[in-house]
Symmetry: D2
Subunit: 280 residues, 4 copies
């Protein structure tokens, strides 16, 4: 049987990325409270294809994933990408994993604990010449309460579920849990899976006392990230499912504390979380 992918190609065009997308895969990731947790990721993995090859060998991407048996952490991604580059004879490889990550969270007054899902993204990029780059992303639901609505009204204030998405590049290891905590401190109130009456009173009043615009949330996160010496680059977005409108409010800040050609190359191919969409 012929190896069609290895046929020569005369168009002399490098394909920036070729690979497999949207594999639903069970993974085991590191967890501060329990050491590891089992979850399910959607995985995209691809390589650069040099001009001389007609095609890549798609089945080898799946074989690489199988070889680590779904144990994928921030620390073994460089190794996975190196293996991918070697198996597929390519100078560059990029991987993205998106998965729900579960944190036990205690209600603010009663302290009853419950399981809370946030969305996490691991994006790893590997270049044979320049080295490895890693971006961590978290998408965290929070409560936001509108300062304008509060100030102009005699009572009440519109508030809503909002999603803050934060992508960071860092020098020293960072816990997902710490990033989530940072984000929650920048909103009107954190969100909890289980609230008894005393807790509900607390979060209602806390949000009313802490009004924030979309602009405030991204500025608050920016202040924290600028002060955090581990962070070399970040991008923060917030999307508010406005309770008084059918459209959403959006704000975004990106800052490079240290420029690098490797990060630029990574960002050129970087895909974060999908656009948040409410399907009707």
């Amino acid at each position: 049987m012929h190896d069609v992918q290895n046929y020569p190609d005369d168009r002399n065009i490098t394909v920036d990325q070729v690979g497999i997308w949207d594999i639903e895969y069970p993974v085991v990731v590191k967890d501060r409270a329990n050491k590891t947790q089992s979850t399910v990721a959607s995985v995209d993995i691809s390589v650069q294809l040099l001009p001389r090859f007609k095609g890549t060998h798609m089945s080898r991407f799946v074989a690489v994933l199988n070889s680590v048996k779904g144990e994928i952490t921030m620390s073994n991604i460089p190794e996975i990408l190196k293996k991918t580059r070697e198996t597929l004879e390519s100078p560059q490889a990029i991987i993205a994993l998106r998965f729900p990550y579960f944190i036990e969270k205690s209600a603010p007054v009663t302290q009853i604990s419950s399981t809370f899902a946030i969305q996490v993204l691991f994006s790893g990029f590997s270049d044979a010449a320049s080295g490895d780059s890693f971006i961590l992303g978290v998408r965290v639901p929070v409560t936001s309460l509108c300062p304008c609505s509060k100030e102009i009204s005699s009572y009440g204030a519109h508030n809503q579920r909002s999603f803050v998405t934060l992508y960071v590049q860092f020098s020293d290891f960072i816990w997902i849990e710490d990033l989530v905590h940072d984000v929650e401190e920048c909103a009107s109130c954190a969100i909890y899976p289980l609230l008894k009456r005393e807790d509900e009173r607390f979060v209602t009043e806390k949000a009313y006392e802490t009004p924030v615009f979309a602009e405030d949330i991204v500025r608050n996160v920016t202040e924290k990230m600028m002060q955090n010496n581990k962070i070399s680059w970040f991008m923060v977005e917030t999307l508010h499912l406005e309770s008084i409108h059918a459209h959403n409010a959006y704000a975004r800040v990106e800052r490079f504390k240290k420029q690098s050609p490797l990060l630029s190359e990574h960002l050129r191919m970087f895909k974060g979380f999908p656009k948040i969409q409410t399907l009707l």
Copy 2:
């Protein structure tokens, strides 16, 4: 060329429905304010396939849609379905159109007008022996404010964007606009595309003065639908994108004011709007 679809089939099995789904199609629908409006529908259309046929002729469904040039109203759906049944030699046909429908809406204080989208569903069913059945659906975004949060807190109250979905079967013609208005009266406040400061104050205070649970919204709609003599059947659902949780609150009521085998048969195959999902 052989007509494979017309080959005989010896399995002796009626296929309840076979057809084409998810055609994105420009349509012109009736509109109370402007007579007609142009929008884009996702269309599903299918027929019953008798045991003697191996397959149906899928291209004829598209041909039927083309023959009305996208002019699809509540009143010509029976004719479209009759044509479909005849062209495809079938005793039963069913069609669903889902589309955004635009209403000009005035802000509550300044009266500034703006365009507001709600989701509409037309579901038509036609049986050669029993006749025609039609279900109209609307999906309307509203504000809901939690009665419990308001009562137990010294100030503030959590509120959120909610979606009320109402399906009705009726004897006399009903305007989409009237159903939307009915639904909006059952929530804490209606939603507007454009609000100036005076308007924002109004909707904030109105919602605070009108707290409703998910349970209240469906009960309020139920009262209205029970009192409306045009309505013979309805189903109402509400989904609240809770601002203090990452999950949603849901409530539902269905009532048959008049039972009929035709409606039962229609409901057995009825697909309403897709499940509301916030994609992260």
Copy 3:
């Protein structure tokens, strides 16, 4: 603090369902190969609300889920629903779990094994007077190859990824793996996560030798389900992402081998998998 939900309600309206929807939750389910597997479910749980109550206590739904720590199997769902009914003082409760379920699958020629995801639905309904009802659903990707395209063309035949969705009610225990296998036998070819060249040749030729219309798939599944004495009711749907069209082909069959008022009541509230949608 007042218990607002326990306030009396004078509208005299039963709410058919009220509860929480779309909780993303880590679960452990039974697995034929490995005894259990960890995955992530989206959970909907609700109860009937009697006319005398103003509202239900939403936090108790989450507490019930927490009490089983995510261990949810076909066999403990009745117990979970009983607890839910009791905690929420309701005569009826209904739960739906939708989750990816992973099966190790061997390539047809090389026998290389890899992880394959199908979608599973558990829908449980419990009525204090009538008892328990359970529906199992599977959504399986398969290859379909068009008999008409094959017969009328000198070479080639269009084929595509299709999704077969099968819901069943049964008397004796059924393995998810067996239902998946039944479905795969009714298509042109099964789908595999990892195929080497010999395997790719096999599936290409197998599909070409086994052309099926959407109508054939649902009829083939119908024959199997009618012959299976464990099955008392089923509904099968197939959706083909046609490679020569931008719309999809659809077919559906439902059969009641044994009618029961309990199943009818369950089906009236039953929500299966979401509508398959390709988001662009």
Copy 4:
């Protein structure tokens, strides 16, 4: 009433973007065959917020859209953005419109005409100092047939629906229809809404005669775009809904024929089409 948004802010942080997202809006766009066509867009519009302002005035974005009454073309976007910048006292504004665009398409043999939807993106960026930048995007469904599967099999070849996404920046005006045509020539076969038997035979055989990998499609488009002197930058992606796998194949090429700081700034904030996702 206080204008809270105009309060001073002491954090000294520019917000890169703040605005409203996901407004569903009826629009009228230019069309080569009929001069104009009515469709429905999802619109995102935002501005840069200078450090001295606490917030932006969200309602003004909606007012700007209303002022053009939904008539949005490639040529009036600079004017819309200028108005947005002025109304919101900002040096930068960015808009994105995503909408289905309908083309009448004739079947390849019978020439029967039918309506075909492709997805279009208009992305406009305006900077008070540097000027205007525009990116046009099209997302086109095509058929792809696998060269490897064809070569190694005695008969048949797997094929599938694929989506090619092409973003371009150009100097002279380009018709959407021409870009779509370019893309279709790079695949195994174009897709049609309505095919009679003779047409189905044609597309089946045409695809079998024209096998392409994902890599081939993006290389073919690259050749065309490199040769087209109007194009100064492009990015092409293809996603194949593989008929023999449950995951997708992906390939991507981006080329800068002319670098410009304005384009770089635009791309930093550019959001293309959402990630293609098949929701199950």
